[in-house]
């Protein structure tokens, strides 16, 4: 049995519509998503418009608008994060002193540890993971800062606005329809009902991040998808006030994940210092895992009980929590093309993540910048949007990703063989293995069960926590009486119900009663959802709830 056997009641076409008859709101370039890709695109467009008033006139009264489904820019941003600041510094040249960028400073030193249940063995740092000169940041904070710069550049940022449908007219993307607000549980119009609007744009830039439902629909509608399916990992992280300053960037491999090939447990953890007073810890596991009892949330709790890790967090206080998926398919799973008439796809939405280097933010920034230039050329000079595809292929992000294209797939053979193969790929700069190694959909992995959950620690409320306390700390205050935004088969075998309920870090899914047919009913608490996107990877479909719903991250 595999999750893909129980598909959700959803087709990507559900996210595409023709423009309605009502009068649309008109903007020049519309950016969906106020993350590093979308804001980089918006800032670059603002710069271009300022330098060429004649071209800018062609963008109309609202030259650039950014839609953000969260309460504010940054509300739904979460990452490690250690970033390569180069592309951002180039983007902001002349706008901001690089020293103003909100960060916790350069990586002061780093180590990679291999964990067993009781020990921590230092490993040599793989070349792909070296972080000299890179910065530790909170992506949520960085996003808020970039949003301010974008607004100064004349960009309109519309928060609490979900982009619900892609508007397509005569084979061309002409904008987006925003989601309704104020509907009740059964879809009925409540007193505060506000209908969504058609927003028309000359160019629409999708910067939805991981698991964007418009991106998925666009890749299908315009035949942009590549030859391999995208795969994802789920990351769950916490931010702590620590009793003693953490002085090193630490990555771990091994425990509490199992190395056996049959489990397909690829992942690890990160611990980053955030100045002297704070530190962050996160656990990331590939969603191609098979065990129905695997819970990344609980593995993170278990990880903190390791003597080496506990010593960092003992006496501290957990102050933030969040979860998000990461596209892991890499180069071989990239779309065939990143543009369609009226449309550009950037950042995590496109899958620009370097898994061995644990980085994607600088690619998001770079692809956003290139998308802005292509959109500008199209509006101001009637150039084809194809220029974006050509620019991407000439960019450093393309050669970076190409070099590491087969590393992630190697780990399907277990940690040890995977490490050996990844090592070979590294020393040959990606020339070994010569052919592209295929990816498989996460939802196509058959489910197995072991007694994995028996070792998860009971939450003590100090070092280890239950999921609902975590959701609370995410700032999630989603209105309960709104329609469910998660499309999912709700009568499934018990193992699949177990898989989803354990997988979800926010306790959205619970196993209900067993029916006569042996299938169980899934009960959803959709307002717990922090929109991490894991359910889309593992057989469901996350769509955006009412704008303004979901977590309110500030430090993640």
């Amino acid at each position: 049995m595999k999750p893909a056997d129980f598909p959700p009641p959803w087709s990507d076409g559900d996210a595409i519509a023709a423009p309605s008859d009502s009068e649309p709101i008109e903007v020049g370039v519309l950016v969906v998503g106020a993350g590093p890709a979308g804001l980089a695109a918006a800032i670059r467009l603002g710069q271009l418009a300022a330098s060429d008033p004649k071209g800018a006139a062609r963008l109309g009264e609202v030259p650039v608008a950014v839609f953000e489904k969260g309460k504010a820019p940054g509300s739904h941003l979460l990452s490690g994060a250690v970033i390569d600041p180069g592309p951002l510094q180039r983007l902001l040249e002349g706008l901001r002193d690089p020293g103003d960028m909100p960060s916790y400073g350069e990586v002061p030193g780093e180590s990679v540890l291999f964990l067993t249940a009781g020990r921590a063995v230092p490993l040599p740092i793989p070349p792909t993971m070296r972080n000299n000169g890179n910065l530790v940041v909170s992506l949520s904070r960085l996003g808020r800062w970039l949003a301010e710069i974008a607004e100064e550049a004349g960009v309109a940022i519309l928060a609490e606005t979900a982009a619900e449908k892609l508007l397509v007219e005569e084979g061309r993307v002409v904008g987006v329809r925003t989601g309704d607000k104020g509907r009740g549980r059964a879809g009925e119009e409540l007193g505060r009902f506000e209908s969504g609007s058609d927003v028309r744009a000359q160019v629409t830039i999708l910067a939805e991040g991981t698991q964007g439902h418009l991106t998925a629909a666009a890749l299908g509608r315009f035949g942009l998808a590549g030859s391999n399916p995208q795969t994802w990992a789920l990351g769950v992280k916490e931010v702590w006030k620590v009793a003693r300053p953490q002085r090193q960037v630490i990555h771990t491999l091994g425990w509490p994940l199992r190395s056996g090939a049959k489990f397909r447990e690829f992942g690890g953890s990160f611990i980053y210092p955030m100045g002297g007073e704070m530190a962050t810890i996160g656990m990331v596991v590939g969603l191609d895992y098979r065990d129905a009892e695997l819970s990344v949330h609980d593995l993170l709790q278990e990880l903190k009980t390791h003597p080496r890790i506990r010593s960092i967090f003992d006496g501290g206080e957990r102050i933030a929590w969040g979860a998000k998926t990461i596209p892991e398919g890499g180069f071989v799973a990239l779309p065939r093309k990143f543009s369609a008439p009226g449309l550009l796809v950037t950042g995590d939405a496109a899958g620009f993540v370097n898994v061995p280097a644990l980085k994607g933010i600088h690619y998001a920034v770079e692809s956003g910048r290139l998308a802005a230039e292509a959109a500008w050329a199209s509006v101001a000079r009637d150039d084809d949007l194809d220029g974006f595809d050509r620019a991407l292929r000439k960019s450093f992000l393309w050669s970076d990703l190409r070099q590491v294209r087969n590393m992630r797939q190697a780990f399907a053979r277990g940690l040890w063989r995977g490490s050996a193969l990844a090592g070979l790929a590294t020393v040959t700069k990606g020339r070994f293995p010569r052919d592209d190694r295929a990816t498989e959909r996460d939802a196509e992995q058959s489910v197995l069960t072991s007694a994995r959950s028996s070792s998860y620690p009971a939450p003590d409320g100090r070092l280890t926590f239950d999921k609902l306390s975590s959701v609370y700390l995410s700032g999630n205050r989603t209105r309960d009486d709104q329609p469910n935004h998660i499309r999912l088969a709700t009568r499934v075998p018990a193992e699949l119900a177990e898989l989803w309920s354990r997988m979800c870090p926010a306790q959205v899914y619970e196993t209900g009663v067993v029916g006569d047919d042996g299938l169980v009913e899934i009960e959803l608490s959709s307002s717990n959802c922090v929109q991490c996107g894991a359910i889309t990877a593992k057989g469901g479909r996350l769509t955006p709830p009412e704008g303004g719903s979901g977590p309110e991250y500030t430090l993640t």
């Binding site: 309109a156 519309l158 928060a159 609490e160 606005t161 925003t178 607000k181 549980r185 506000e194 609007s197 009971a458 409320g461 239950d466 609902l468 306390s469 959701v471 609370y472 205050r477 989603t478 209105r479 309960d480 009486d481 009960e523 608490s525 307002s527 704008g547 303004g548």
Partner: protein, 286 residues
Amino acid sequence: MVCGSGVESFAESAGPFGAGAVFVADDERLAAPLPQPRVDVLAALIREEGFDIVLFAQSVLAADVAAGLAARLGAGLNWDLVDVAETDEVLVGKRPALADSVWVDVGWTSSPRLALFRTGAFEPVERGGSAEVRTVDVVLEEHSLLAQLVEPAVAEQSGPSIEDADVVVAGGRGLGGPEGFAQVEALADALGGAVAATRAVVDAGWYPYSAQVGQTGKTVSPKLYVAVGISGAIQHKVGMQGSGTIVAINKDPNAPIFDYADLGVVGDLNEIVPALTSLVGRRKSG
């Protein structure tokens, strides 16, 4: 313009707030809050006086009247405005959109121009002066009198609301099903309190959303809060932690609610709650 029955005395009070003239339609047939007779009165007045701009303070009745008037006069209506200004001799209204994150300029393409304003959009400013009060003849169409007010009613609820009650008895998933709420209601009755519910049971459809206590529901602070079959996740706690005395009944000794209850009973609620209800009943009658 003042419309209603026995409302003439209000008219003069508009003078100090800037009204130069106040029209009064005072008639028994305008007593009930029904839109159609008001549409008749207003339509006749606007035609007669040739008014170009008609503004309403937004309410359910005003929205009904404005919509009916727009249809009657073939006029344009903008709603939910928070401001209006004349720019280059063109009247422009301001309407918040997209969760009030942007202001949209709206105009009218024909005359008269009708608009509904958000209540509270303007501060009343008293600056002296007096109004000329002018009485309007009330001539109603026959069809406008077909709708009649039968009976005014307010939304009913049994017992006190959970926000005002001194005693709240709340039920959670431990009740096992919607039928379990009968016990909770009986106990609330005996204690003279209101019934509340957790998000989980409201989600499951066991009890209405209006009774939900917690982070995304109502916040209550009764003198006595009895939690029946509630595990007490933090999302629930933040909605009731201000209660005077918290009593928890739950079969799971590890339930988080016992960390902050003043009095905890570990046991089967199906035995404890009925026993408690009858004990309270006996004490009260005794």
